[in-house]
């Protein structure tokens, strides 16, 4: 399984804070998004983290990974 998390405005616009999907091998981040959100393309400036480190949409996932999607950060 892949654990997906959504944050901030993305979490609100999707109306959910997480998903859990099966992990067909191989599976990229973008494929995981599409599987979890078949009717919604990933927003243009979306950021991705795999296991809490920044990654790209074409990075490969393996079972048990935590993948997070979030908008540009605004801390500080």
């Amino acid at each position: 399984m892949i654990n997906i998390k959504y944050f901030a405005s993305l979490r609100e616009s999707l109306g959910k804070q997480q998903d859990q999907i099966p992990c067909p091998s191989p599976c990229t981040v973008e494929q995981a998004w599409t599987q979890a959100n078949p009717d919604t393309a990933p927003p243009e400036h979306i950021l991705v983290a795999i296991n809490q480190e920044y990654a790209s949409l074409d990075a490969a996932l393996k079972s048990g990974d935590e993948v997070a999607f979030f908008p540009p950060v605004t801390g500080g």
Binding site: A8, Q52, A68, G76
Partner: protein, 147 residues
Amino acid sequence: MDNVRLLDRAYNPWALLEAFQQARFADATDFGATAVFTGTMRDFNEGDDVAKMYLEHYPGMTLRYLQTLADTAKQRWSLNDCLIVHRYGDINPGETIVLTAAWSAHRGAAFDACRYLIEDLKHHAPFWKKETLANGDTRWVAENTPG
């Protein structure tokens, strides 16, 4: 001595700095320069009055990201130490959101490292601000201002 801290309530940045420096450098006299930045919540943004703010973050990734950032700065500038403190949750105008600090033998390194910490944090640390305006509307802050 934790040099990266996430806090869910208001803090006094100067008292925190004093305590950190006391504990970390009690008898040390080998740093000559300290540079500090604090970011405070304003009561206006993009032309609107802001009543309060909620700061969401990504528990787990946040601390991890900031610790790597602090370690990177210490190596890159040969710092005696550095410090990053960041709020999350509900925040009121006038409260300190973020604190970065760097201790070094030389002022150039202290300034450069302190500024690097806040710039990198603003661009990469997983925090998101949601403002509540004076009229009750809420909105996510779309992007940070340039440094």
